[in-house]
């Protein structure tokens, strides 16, 4: 026959084992959930960061290339204008000095100016047209509005990457706390029912609860 005290001790011992078992199971499930959350957040952070970097590279290329095309167009128009100014100056000088030669050269230059301006306008108009590939055409024809829209998207990707990074940090913190909870549960299982075991188990329970909270925060 077993004494009432011994039976009570055995029951307490069994309750302790039950809590340890449940805690180990909860830790296993939490570890799986946190691993999934951490992987998702890590991938999101990596992708958003790379997308932001891609957009920054694209923005840089668009600004440089479109500015080059605009500068080139302005430069050619300046060339034509210089010829026009030179022709006018020669014609005026020819008239003032009664120099037929200078006037004739100025007149020929004036006719050339009109043709040159038309030819260079037609030249600039071909920028970014067919048969240039769509990517290069997009760089050449980028407008300020398009650049501003892309800049806003690039900033949004940076913000998304930061948010995903914060979620990932919470996930890693949760896994770390969970590992500690696992160690404390193991320690409780070794120490068994007693002051040390109960303390260790209580701390493990608290840590598992903290991890569950971190998992929820990382998920949101």
């Amino acid at each position: 026959m077993i004494s009432p005290d011994s039976a009570a001790e055995l029951r307490a011992e069994r309750r302790f084992d039950l809590v340890v078992a449940v805690l180990i199971g909860v830790i296993a499930v939490l570890a799986a959930i946190l691993s999934a959350i951490q992987l998702d957040a890590s991938q999101a952070s990596t992708r958003d960061n790379l997308q932001a970097a891609r957009l920054a590279a694209d923005l840089s290329a668009r600004i440089a290339v479109s500015e080059q095309a605009i500068d080139s167009g302005l430069g050619t128009q300046q060339t034509a204008l210089m010829l026009g100014i030179e022709s006018a100056a020669r014609e005026i000088a020819g008239l003032q000095n009664d120099d037929a030669s200078t006037s004739a050269v100025g007149k020929a230059q004036a006719a050339a100016f009109d043709k040159l301006r038309a030819a260079l306008t037609a030249t600039s108009a071909t920028t970014g047209g067919q048969p240039v590939d769509s990517y290069t055409a997009g760089l050449l024809n980028a407008t300020t509005q398009q650049l501003l829209t892309e800049l806003a998207e690039q900033n949004r990707q940076v913000d998304l990457a930061s948010a995903a990074g914060a979620r990932e940090e919470r996930g890693v913190l949760g896994l770390s706390v969970l590992a500690l909870a696992g160690v404390l549960t193991g320690l409780a299982a070794v120490l068994r029912e007693g002051r040390g075991g109960r303390l260790s188990l209580s701390a493990a329970c608290a840590m598992a609860a903290t991890t569950a909270l971190l998992a929820v925060l990382a998920f949101v």
């Binding site: 050269v105 306008t121 071909t126």
Partner: protein
Amino acid sequence: MPGEILVTTASERSAAAVAEIVVPVHERGHGGVALLLTVAAIVAAVISFRAAIISSSASDSWQSALRSEVKRSAAAMEDVRSLYQSELPIAVRILQARIVQAEMLAEAQGQSGPARQALLQEADVQGQIITALSSSSELATAPQYSLPSGGLDLAKRLADLRATYPDLLALNPDGLETTGDRLAHEAELTILALVPTSVAAFLGVLAQPFRRRRMMLLRLGALALAGGMAMFVVVQVVS
């Protein structure tokens, strides 16, 4: 006697309590718990390893997309720079010289004396400029780049420059990014198989103290484990 009945009842209760509490060395289902936990641990390790590998591949694809983006933009920038900064100024100078020369010669037709002489001299100067520069400008000399209006077809020239390195033209960072997205999705689905696997471990651990429901818990655990394994296999086959 009532007293005897009470004593008997207390003894029976104690016996039942002892039977409930004292754990036999070789009890039913004990090996099943160990087996379920071991298999769940192995499956969890395989799932985690596979998910990490797929996730790493996704990250590689995204990194490649970024490298391709930089390479593609650098190649395009260099071709545009070459056309607009190196070729175009010389071609424009040749174009200008041709037009001015033509106008000088046309004006000289209706002139005589010193005026005609000056116009012819100016035309000759423009001719010398054309001769000096033409050898260094394919844009200004190749007929396929001449527009009917007298200008230059920059689009056609740029397309030809870009086609010089077709491998750079064929770079597709968007395709690499899409591959990375697909792999990332696969990794997420793969790691989700850990959840039923961990539930199997949970049920296996619970089966140890709950001796009366051990077999049921073990069966449920095996079912959850099978679910996790099936989920893992389906994701690997379908993706």
